[in-house]
Symmetry: D3
Subunit: 338 residues, 6 copies
Amino acid sequence: MKQIVTFGEIMMRLSPPLNYRLEQASALEVTYGGGDANVAASLACLGLPAAHVTCFPDHQLGRAAVQQFRRLGVDMRHTVFSAGGRLGLYFLEVGSALRASTIVYDRFDSAFAKLDPAAFDWEEILKDAQWFHWTGITAAVSASAAQACRDAIKVARRLGITVSADVNYRRNLWQYGQRAQDVMPELVEGCDVVVCSEGDADDLFGIKADEGAANKFASMAEKLMQRFPQIKQVIATKRKTQSASHERIKGMLVEAGHGYQETQYYDITPVVDRIGGGDAFIAGFVYGALQLGSAEAALAFATAASALKHTIHGDVNLATAAEVAHIVAGNTTGRLLR
Amino acid sequence: MKQIVTFGEIMMRLSPPLNYRLEQASALEVTYGGGDANVAASLACLGLPAAHVTCFPDHQLGRAAVQQFRRLGVDMRHTVFSAGGRLGLYFLEVGSALRASTIVYDRFDSAFAKLDPAAFDWEEILKDAQWFHWTGITAAVSASAAQACRDAIKVARRLGITVSADVNYRRNLWQYGQRAQDVMPELVEGCDVVVCSEGDADDLFGIKADEGAANKFASMAEKLMQRFPQIKQVIATKRKTQSASHERIKGMLVEAGHGYQETQYYDITPVVDRIGGGDAFIAGFVYGALQLGSAEAALAFATAASALKHTIHGDVNLATAAEVAHIVAGNTTGRLLR
Amino acid sequence: MKQIVTFGEIMMRLSPPLNYRLEQASALEVTYGGGDANVAASLACLGLPAAHVTCFPDHQLGRAAVQQFRRLGVDMRHTVFSAGGRLGLYFLEVGSALRASTIVYDRFDSAFAKLDPAAFDWEEILKDAQWFHWTGITAAVSASAAQACRDAIKVARRLGITVSADVNYRRNLWQYGQRAQDVMPELVEGCDVVVCSEGDADDLFGIKADEGAANKFASMAEKLMQRFPQIKQVIATKRKTQSASHERIKGMLVEAGHGYQETQYYDITPVVDRIGGGDAFIAGFVYGALQLGSAEAALAFATAASALKHTIHGDVNLATAAEVAHIVAGNTTGRLLR
Amino acid sequence: MKQIVTFGEIMMRLSPPLNYRLEQASALEVTYGGGDANVAASLACLGLPAAHVTCFPDHQLGRAAVQQFRRLGVDMRHTVFSAGGRLGLYFLEVGSALRASTIVYDRFDSAFAKLDPAAFDWEEILKDAQWFHWTGITAAVSASAAQACRDAIKVARRLGITVSADVNYRRNLWQYGQRAQDVMPELVEGCDVVVCSEGDADDLFGIKADEGAANKFASMAEKLMQRFPQIKQVIATKRKTQSASHERIKGMLVEAGHGYQETQYYDITPVVDRIGGGDAFIAGFVYGALQLGSAEAALAFATAASALKHTIHGDVNLATAAEVAHIVAGNTTGRLLR
Amino acid sequence: MKQIVTFGEIMMRLSPPLNYRLEQASALEVTYGGGDANVAASLACLGLPAAHVTCFPDHQLGRAAVQQFRRLGVDMRHTVFSAGGRLGLYFLEVGSALRASTIVYDRFDSAFAKLDPAAFDWEEILKDAQWFHWTGITAAVSASAAQACRDAIKVARRLGITVSADVNYRRNLWQYGQRAQDVMPELVEGCDVVVCSEGDADDLFGIKADEGAANKFASMAEKLMQRFPQIKQVIATKRKTQSASHERIKGMLVEAGHGYQETQYYDITPVVDRIGGGDAFIAGFVYGALQLGSAEAALAFATAASALKHTIHGDVNLATAAEVAHIVAGNTTGRLLR
Amino acid sequence: MKQIVTFGEIMMRLSPPLNYRLEQASALEVTYGGGDANVAASLACLGLPAAHVTCFPDHQLGRAAVQQFRRLGVDMRHTVFSAGGRLGLYFLEVGSALRASTIVYDRFDSAFAKLDPAAFDWEEILKDAQWFHWTGITAAVSASAAQACRDAIKVARRLGITVSADVNYRRNLWQYGQRAQDVMPELVEGCDVVVCSEGDADDLFGIKADEGAANKFASMAEKLMQRFPQIKQVIATKRKTQSASHERIKGMLVEAGHGYQETQYYDITPVVDRIGGGDAFIAGFVYGALQLGSAEAALAFATAASALKHTIHGDVNLATAAEVAHIVAGNTTGRLLR
């Protein structure tokens, strides 16, 4: 089977144990993650061949990060090690009940942000791929990262590879002198599947749902597909966050020519780790698109995968395909399996 | 006071901390448990004299297991150490919310399964006992374990000791060439108190509740007592599992000549550890039968003990009799005790 | 800004990890706390200048305790180190669901209980203070501790400093030969703000709410202010404990001439640590009284602070003023903050 | 085989992990120990029937301490639980290289110190015993503890049981108004085997080695046996402490009528835990006296046991008799055993 | 570059933290290792392409083991997952000073022991290989494992691949009805490089060094090469174990036609983990043979690699080629590298 | 007593537990340190009033760092919190035996490096100071940090405050466009006491010991004092590193007009943590200069302090003055202190 390839930065995540505050921690738990790498890793856990492309500093920390994704089965062969730059970090303090989780990012000047686009031979990287996925965060990090993304999408298009994007607009990341509103449209133009919330559509593309629309998401998605005709599917999760310990999520999909679908809400309490819930959704959707018969089945699989992710520590959804299918089949009471 | 004696295998339990998956764990927490040993240990914690009879390999692991039950006050004097066989293990991954807990058993070829029935002098072991308890798992493990069980029940009957059994049918354990349906009836015949679910009654004895019975459990239990006239009480818990983190349980009892009784449901959220909840129920019932005035009081005590067990880490209910009585008295809001 | 000064014993708290029982713990987590010191520390975290006055044994444990409060920004300059006496301790076992948390105190004969009142130069200590806070526990510990408290209140009154007290009656602490009912009235007489529940008012002062009063707390508080005319505000939290893992709390206030106010209930599940919830409430109220415009705002701030404390490990509320204000503003769903 | 019975206080030991200082520890490791209880526990690990007699407060901590000695196989049946008093504690900071380990004791007013001598029925306790062991620390703790010790020795003498003592003089423990020099001689008078250093002999009994004696220990021991004719053996270890991480120890023995013997030095580096090294020596000597043919063999076994103890965490020597014999046989290079 | 391929069982290793005894551990640290897999993993860390071939049970534990070797960069593509059998385990208690480390094996009936030789397509597996390495342990485990080994060697020979073996005779492993003395010669016959101690040569092949030989190892090795003419190099490490915490090792080599060479001794104190020291030596030798100019350089590299391994936790030598070269260059004082 | 004030960057230090490699760590231990801050903290532990001046990012990490130095008693009042920049980090992997410890720095673009020199009001900061200490690392970090250092020294000189410097040349830190050789002389000119090795003197000032000098250090130091006449004392430690686990150190001093002195070597094995050993030496020397009678006594105290530091975890020497004096008095065998 051909690979799914993702591209983007991987950060070290440092987090106090349990619900401790950063100032209380005498040790910080170490995991690694990144919006796109999490998709590759989740796909590898689901059993599909996945590769991730990134750039690391050439020292112990970069090598440790490679090891953790290789452990999960991600093909890390294409990693570029560069002499300059650091490993991006983020510090996560996990909240509880009405206390929010908080993140302190420490990712500027990373090796990834300083990457040389010419270091990636996309023809070679994508020659055995069937799907390429990227996120708006990569485009936000630096001009060179955005350029590498542009290069990859171009090659992918030429090779007839499906392209997906999580547009994921984070205002305070865009600091390299270009506006997201100028950079993103060109990149999104080349995508077949897009993850996009109503807020992102407005912020990035000035696309708003119709005032009186019964279904705001569907209205936005239809307009998005009109603007970018290559896009065939717009997907998203909807969260009803009850507390830092209790989430409710459902999946939504608008397919060109087939309209809107959604799943039931999943109720998750207590939440073990909500980071990467969206990435698990995307990986589930890619899995479904490639392995299951219908968009409806893909959406159901994606949403169950995202729900399961909330019960798993770290950025990556470690669930197997059988475990996700078990949830899709309605086994949500967590009955002991011997 | 005379002893309660139990018989069966003790396994080492290896479990990742918190809700981590096995593949994430750099260390596994070690505890020890077994369906019948848990009953003895819970009884010791409740303050009654309890002994457990088992067989261990003669090395550090066997000795470590003895230590942990001795710590809780169980008389382990009758342990047989054998040169052959290993210590049975099980790996427990604790789920959360909609993710189920899972168990990987690694118990074949244990010293217990390979025990020599002649190594147990039941006349000696039971000479100061008032109650003998065993489980269907012991009968499932090997022909020699089943034989030792048979021997023990026979001696217990002759000495006028109360015999109880948790029939606990686990299909995939029965691999030594005999069928549970052939082995179990003879053993159950000698019992005064039996823990049996409707499913087990059907699978093991072909006993089904009457089609139209208002109370399926009561119907099954009456038939079971007709088939095995020695049985005077059939008990069980009923679980309404809400999620891996949320259980609801009640206790049920049918007494020969006194009909059906049940308790209210206890609501337990979050669940700390559900393993051994049934064993805690049995220990509570034995305690109640010996120390309290009525079957009703025993059932109430047993159910409260089982509920409390769900809040305690490990296989064994460490609650004292006073703590269980506190719950029976209605103190279920967990108000801080200074 | 002038300091808030608190006075009282600090104990080492030893607690098994997670929900383990004391007998299961191979290590105990160490924190430090005391009803009044927690108020000073919470105020320091909120950004106000706070000092705590106490007495420690002159060895590593006393120094370690000083360090932990100094870390949080509390001025510990006035600590008296004495050759005699020990460091008070308490052992906390954290319950779950229907299993209660339990505390074993080991605080008798502490250096604090044996303090020499003459060792504290209150004129010097309070010369830059604007508020003095003490609790009924200090008065309960020993005659000399009560005397030091009496001295401090007297100096505070003379210097025109606001005095607050948490009357906090703990029957089994009063063992030095005087009755709380004889000692406390004289001390409370000098207070401007008092934390007092209906039970405490009855036990300590024989004050009962009117039989038919619609609002028992308000009725009691009015009577308390009549008895002690210096008191201008009586405050308290009301807990509806659902389980050891789930609390509901609201704040209540009666102000001389302005009557009764209360907040909505906060629902906190799961509870991380309920110890110090009342102290966080008091610190929040002091903050509000000094920094916000109205008693209503102070009550709202105090109650939100107390709710947040339940999500934070240890005796002390580590929340910043911005975090508490975030809750007061209605952000109680714990939405991730990047 | 008849029991060896020991009597004395058991304390909870709280210690930072590794070589951390107390002020650095966010958790303290919990073990339990006491000079005489360690002897009983070491003997149980060596395979002999051992019982320990003590007094605990009647709450979770006392029960937890009982569990830990019961775990090791010590008969704790005779434990007296008393309503008054606390559990004695000690805080141990483990040094390294030139930094000394330090202990902060917190044992005053313990349930043991406050014991009622009448609560111990020594006739019953010692009826199946062959050996009784006590230490000078017990006599130091309180008048009632010294009295219980006196009672026990008297009954032991009458029953013809061997009595041993570790005289262990700790000046700052003697605070109950009597002098060690007045209390100890009467107690030591009834002993057959005594552990006594030259310093202790001088401090307690005013016995000094002859000025010009070639062997100071032998000279002192001979005089001690002259003063107390019941004593047949005087033993001790000699330490040449190189650093907190490196000890050298040998064993010494003077036997009435047989003169002086000593072993070679054992070199132990790194030291895992030196606490209880002397108690392991005594347990080894008792084992040797009862199981091996000669005083020489007993001394060799005792010294090897003490050396092994330095490699084992906690107060108690967990070595089996086979492991000690392995060392006695000269296997001191720690070659891997598969 | 072509792969180095190894074949053999991987076990889960469970070990108490630090120097704790098994009975003291409330958690066991988990790593994975196997004599041949360690060689592959060490080579991957040194930067060469390495693959390991093995058989695991098809459940979480097998998958976790795959992950850990994949993490280190070992190609695990050829892993066979089988329905039957368990994951082999071993329990390691790490000694200190004169207390030996001990291992309790629990590896019988593993999926590997029960492997089906036909499940391995050696033509395919070895088609891109340049070196094949196996150990005597694999031949000891079961007839089918020995058969798979035989198959592999045969294919390797035909493909012109270098074959190496660590003959590693463990008497108590050989329990499947065939004698090592009958099985091993045929397998060793096909090897180019052999790791063999004098003891193993005697036990397995009846080869003894000449009585009066100045160099026993050289004498044995010459005879071994005479018996098995395919062998061109016989290598081994010599240990002078000082204590469980202190090793001294050197490397030895006899090369057909070039005689004996040895390195200086390395002094390693303290030893962090001695398991896998021999496997690190072999990996170092393979690296040297392929990357460095001479047998002398290979031997020096191998011995330094083995010395470094003793400072690294786990079975596998995680050192990079640069780190080993740093030691070879004489930098053995461990000076801080910034 | 007047304060000792230090100035420089504080970094978060992240380190795997024990001797694990970075890639093996699932959690990293967190401490904080900086060459100059360590001096202030060590002085505070020795009992002198110390203040540290630095700049942190205005988020949780900066606040956590402040807390840790405040905990040790350092006056952190003058901390500047800036909106820009990050918290500098370093990753420390602790070696063992022949494996070196390694550090990966991640400190570029820190808030400290980006500090605004105008943000520090040195007149105010130094008004109650008697000593100012800085290091060459501060001058290396950025032009603005060097400028702040220059400002501080100028004010210190004017106020008649003693100035000391650890010249500490780290080539790869100097990346802001100026050469150390140009920046440092002007700064060192204003110093009374300088820590300087022969290598640093050559690299920074082109000062070499006389070719044939019997004492190279003395020769270099004399020349240094000739070049910079303000300098009255040149001090340094000499390390003879035996292995990553074994250090030998002595102290050296040349005083204007009094010539060379040195201490005996201290032998430290095992080393717990060598980071900050030089800073502990300086703090010890400052303590000695202010509290003890002679340069000789100061040197002895400084060297003992440095030796003790090697046995303490973290960057800071937590030893009290009494503990250092205990070592100076010759108590280096680490005998247990009760």
